[in-house]
Amino acid sequence: MDVEDGPVDTFRARVRQWLADNAPEPTVNRSPEEQLAAAKRFQAALYDAGFAGITWPVEFGGQGLTAAEQQVFNDEAADYDLPTDPFMIGMGMCGPTLVDLGTTEQKTRYLRPLLRGERIWCQLFSEPGAGSDVASLQTRAVGDGSDWVVNGQKVWTSGAQQADFGALLARTDPDVPKHQGLTMFIVDMHAPGVSVRPLRDMTGRAPFNEVYFDDVRLPADAVLGEVDGGWAAAVTMLGHERVSIGGSVRRRHDPLAYTNLAELARRTGRADDPVVRGELAELYAAERALTLFNSRLRQEADSGTPPGARGSVAKLGGAELLWRAVRVAGLIAGARTAAWDPADEAGEELAVAINATPASSIAGGTNQIQRGIIGDRVLGLPKEPQVDRDVPFRELRVGTQPRA
């Protein structure tokens, strides 16, 4: 190893030891409430050990370290199934956006409880009529004295059923073009008028929700960033989202990870087939190339070049990798992919993973949107003619349903 890796190696040793001593056993057969309680306990322990908010500022509870240490932590954590899911939105998206745009008062109030696992966050952007075109959203926030009153509906909200706070994007001025009249708010999910309904996805599970706002009152200091400057705040958050998704920790038991598919091939005798061997080699190569790309982005960020729109490469690469893995999994598991003994947990896990894969190329911006971002913002290709660019939002046709 390089001499310059010295301090990072020390950090790695500390992470490895701590995880070995403190990583909890997977909590498969517990109720959602018990799982959430276990996740909160673990997050608090992470905070106490100095592994929460590794790159966040020290004054707000972070560790003030670099992306290199974050990478080390992710690498080491990949050997475990840590119960960090409920905090992914907060840690990966809302928190970093608060760090970037929040007032000192907001940072002081929200960041530490997030890091300690006391408060869960969700992101309230998408609507039934505003998916890829988030800026066409219709949820309204109307000024009332110094307060704001919110009405509308959000959808695809991960974790809203558990969330204490949400980052809400709402329309504050419908008389200007769509990007100009948006504002980002921090909303208390327990406030009167907020209701959450689970939404079942194609795996049969309900990790998402519909969230309804019915005359929800927000104070003036709920604004994150500038009033009518919500689009800039949303772009900041979406940038963090892409990096977070693209660079997210692969699960040790992820049935679509190379290591586990190679193991499955060995166990079932498929590893002697040259076609299977070739496909596994390519899967490894694709997985490793993406991991290395993510590491490079982090190293560049540490030396002063933020990833910007290149986060979309990571996001797109992650989705393409999963689709490749679905193909290889079918090649190895064959008919057992289609039907399995009720007692066979591995069969169930693989089925869920295959059914969840379309989400990878839709959620957080479809593959098509990511390619558009790379083309426009990284390569500087000319944008498509935008028919709605200079039109006041009020006059636009939006989504697939009639305007409210």
Binding site: R277, L280, F293, G380, L381, E384
Partner: protein
């Protein structure tokens, strides 16, 4: 693990890029391609003797500059970007790596300083008729005659073998495979320039008839074969990354300026998304390159896997990107006059130089322990 270049390495990149912009523009590449020499001796002197770039992985005490593979890869990237007509891959990579791996003091004494300064052009001949790495043992035999070693038979697919002053050949000796150094003007050595898919990368078939040779002593010959192959994979990956960056640049520039149906074609999603896919492939290939080059310098134990990864991944990726570049240029990309086809041909050759895709995947699978 370091995946970004430091300021000195970036400076090296600019220096080489400027040199090649002045002395190896596309017009010059085509002149050399159409001429008889197969390379540009004046450019080679600038790259090697003047800038000292041929000895980057050779220590200063042995005539090199004592830099490393990361730096050499920076140079190879630029040479690949420009399709520069110099025997750098053959001599400064393959031949230098072979001499270093052989650990034969006599050979080092005789060859290394000249290879590092560029006065001597080296080439490596590991392949016989099927082109497989190491297959030369089936077609080239060494025997002891009149107090010296002689070679009989032939080798093929020898990159820059037509102009090399020294050829390092892998042959069957009485007790097994061994490496031999042969002078380019040795008696009984016949050279035929092959017709090549890639007109910018000459390859030759060499015939040996009782050709005198120096037998390398020192390291295990089969281990040397593997070590050189791994480093060759990294070197080729560097060229590919340079090529990918150039064809992407060409394609983006073209699709920004080419107007059809009243707007630049790059504004259409089908074209824009094609460019985005090229960019993703290029960015991931560059990441793999930085890792493999770093491993060659700092983590030799990781190199066999890193090199197999680099070859299996970037070989097909660079051809796909080069082919996409032709496609996204449309008709003009299919013309002889446009440079896109030169990259297309170089990428296909590069993908196959160390063996076909199935071999690359199997090599990676083996090293992964699948």
């Amino acid at each position: 693990m370091r995946l970004v270049l430091d300021s000195e390495q970036r400076q090296l990149r600019s220096t080489v890029r400027e040199l090649l912009a002045d002395h190896a523009p596309p017009t010059r590449v085509r002149e050399v391609m159409d001429g008889g020499d197969g390379y540009d001796p004046a450019l080679w002197r600038r790259v090697s003797a003047e800038l000292g770039l041929a000895g980057l992985v050779v220590s200063e005490s042995r005539g090199g500059s004592g830099a490393g593979h990361v730096e050499r890869c920076v140079v190879l990237e630029e040479l690949g970007r420009a399709l520069a007509p110099v025997p750098y891959l053959a001599s400064a990579a393959l031949a230098v790596d072979t001499v270093l791996a052989l650990e034969d003091a006599t050979l080092e004494q005789r060859l290394l300083a000249g290879l590092a300064s560029g006065e001597r052009i080296g080439a490596v001949a590991p392949a016989g008729d099927d082109g497989d790495w190491g297959s030369a043992t089936a077609s080239l035999t060494a025997g002891w005659r009149d107090g010296g070693w002689v070679l009989d038979g032939h080798v093929s697919f020898v990159v820059s073998g037509d102009v090399a002053d020294t050829v390092l050949a892998y042959a069957t000796a009485p007790e097994g495979p061994a490496w031999f150094a042969v002078s380019g003007d040795a008696a009984g050595l016949g050279r035929t320039r092959l017709r090549t898919l890639d007109p910018t990368r000459p390859m030759a078939r060499l015939e040996f008839a009782s050709t005198p040779a120096h037998r390398a002593d020192g390291a295990d010959p089969a281990a040397v074969l593997e070590a050189v192959r791994d480093r060759a994979a990294v070197a080729l990956t560097a060229e590919r990354v340079g090529m990918m960056s150039r064809v992407l640049e060409m394609t983006v520039d073209y699709t920004k300026s080419r107007v059809q149906f009243g707007r630049p074609v790059g504004s259409y999603q089908a074209v824009k998304h094609g460019c985005a896919d090229m960019y993703c492939a290029y960015q991931q290939a560059e990441s793999v390159l930085r890792y493999a080059a770093w491993a060659a310098d700092h983590a030799p134990a990781e190199l066999p896997l890193a090199a197999a990864l680099a070859q299996a991944h970037t070989g097909p990726a660079s051809f796909r990107v080069a082919a996409d570049a032709v496609q996204l240029h449309g008709g003009v990309g299919y013309t002889w006059e446009h440079d896109a086809h030169l990259y297309y041909k170089r990428a296909k050759t590069s993908e196959l130089l160390l063996g076909a895709a199935d071999q690359q995947r199997e090599r990676l699978a083996e090293r992964l322990g699948v």
